[in-house]
Symmetry: C2
Subunit: 230 residues, 2 copies
DNA sequence: TGATTTTTAGAGTAATTACTCTAGAGGTCA
DNA sequence: TGACCTCTAGAGTAATTACTCTAAAAATCA
């Protein structure tokens, strides 16, 4: 059995992602674990400390994934890293969803978050530049920077967007996974115009791989999934 | 003097955008206007009713902007509509920021929001298709759909993203405007690869027009503004 | 075993805040 | 003028919820 401290984090993360931090009380977290509120507060001095600890975890994980070993990259590497990064951002989706409030009430987190975004974008740019060196992408530095920011914002916001259209299904493992994959599809489309060589050869296959089929889209998004001209 | 009912809405919108709905109490809104809480509750039966009314306003405004008159489009039309739409989404930024919570606690709003997104995307697709007919854009229907969703998510999330990096400056009119313009720049970059003809001719000018200069970027984003290679 | 530290329970508190209620002011129309 | 309706004030309430406090159980270690 893992220790209480991390069990609290796990339970909090699951509940926050599912219901939103605002709708999850500390008593609720304790209840979920079958422990007392007093016990919870023994491990974390307040609710913000839990959020902060979850942010640490998220940050560490994501920055690790954004550290790519030296050497030329293949499109398979690319997709691998890609999927990991997106999954990690999905895992920490409650953070981006309620970010404004966390930063509003915790100045320390505010600074740390800013540094985190800066780090992530810097590393992301490094990766994109190496993809360019490997001949998988063709774009100017300016294009790369804009693409990177757009990718970041999209990846960070996608869970919130899908949750807005499907608040009820959150927590269902397979459906969540479908939404995540559709997010990957959207980001593939984002960088599609800049792909070259090997990456371009596999573009169509990748699109088919990640794009949800019509019926799934229909179930998840209704009319949004397949925007029709009428 | 406008009537109290709309003054409440105006004050609430300003406060919500600035501090986030969660951090703005009904007493706070009343205090801002110099009226009593009782008076506020005479006009709106609860806080959610204020949010709902603001959503109505936002929805009406945006859908109007997404209704484009018949006939071929020029790139100037395009940029005009564009700026209006983005400004409108900026104006309603608190809605997207705290969307998850609003939808969580108000099932009626949930349904109306979903229809609203569906409508917006349908109209957006119509506009993109007409831009294609006018020779300003070249893309397949599938590309157009993906581009559209990405544009929507980016436009809706951009205010939240910038706010996360600069929580303190919210409310400053000129700085807010700068952030909005940088958002337009990001979206221009999003669709840049698909532009043709007249629109392509003006692409560089448009980029220069909307992109913040280095010093402003520096002030707003710090290291994020000009992501460096190392 | 006994001493000490860590962990847990759970009742209770203090503060916030959305919202209510009553009474009265101000306008309108007969 | 008086009846009536709309609007406003402001004190007060009820419910939520983050968090505290004391004491006891469990683990650790001499």
């Amino acid at each position: 059995m893992t220790d209480t401290k991390t069990r609290i984090l796990d339970a909090a993360l699951a509940l926050f992602n599912r219901f939103g931090e605002r709708n999850v009380t500390t008593n609720h977290i304790a209840g979920e674990l079958g422990i007392s509120p007093g016990n919870l507060y023994y491990h974390y001095r307040n609710k913000a400390a839990i959020v902060s600890a979850l942010f640490d975890r998220y940050r560490e994980h994501l920055l690790t994934l954004l550290t790519v070993p030296e050497g030329p990259l293949t499109w398979e590497d690319k997709m691998g890293y890609f999927e990991g990064i997106l999954a990690s951002m999905w895992e920490g989706r409650f953070l981006h969803r309620d970010l404004a409030h966390f930063l509003h009430q915790d100045p320390v987190l505010r600074d740390r978050y800013k540094v985190f975004v800066e780090d992530s974008l810097a590393r992301g740019l490094g990766i994109y530049q190496r993809l360019r060196d490997s001949g998988l992408i063709e774009a100017s530095d300016e294009e790369l920077r804009a693409l990177l920011v757009n990718t970041w914002v999209l990846a960070a916001s996608w869970p919130g967007f899908t949750h807005g259209l499907n608040p009820e299904i959150s927590g269902d493992e397979t459906l969540d996974r479908g939404l995540l994959r559709q997010g990957i599809y959207q980001i593939i489309c984002l960088e599609a115009p800049y792909l070259r060589g090997e990456a371009l050869d596999h573009l169509d296959a990748m699109k088919r791989e990640y794009r949800l089929d019509e019926t799934a889209l229909d179930r998840l998004f209704g009319a949004v999934g397949q925007v029709r001209s009428e």
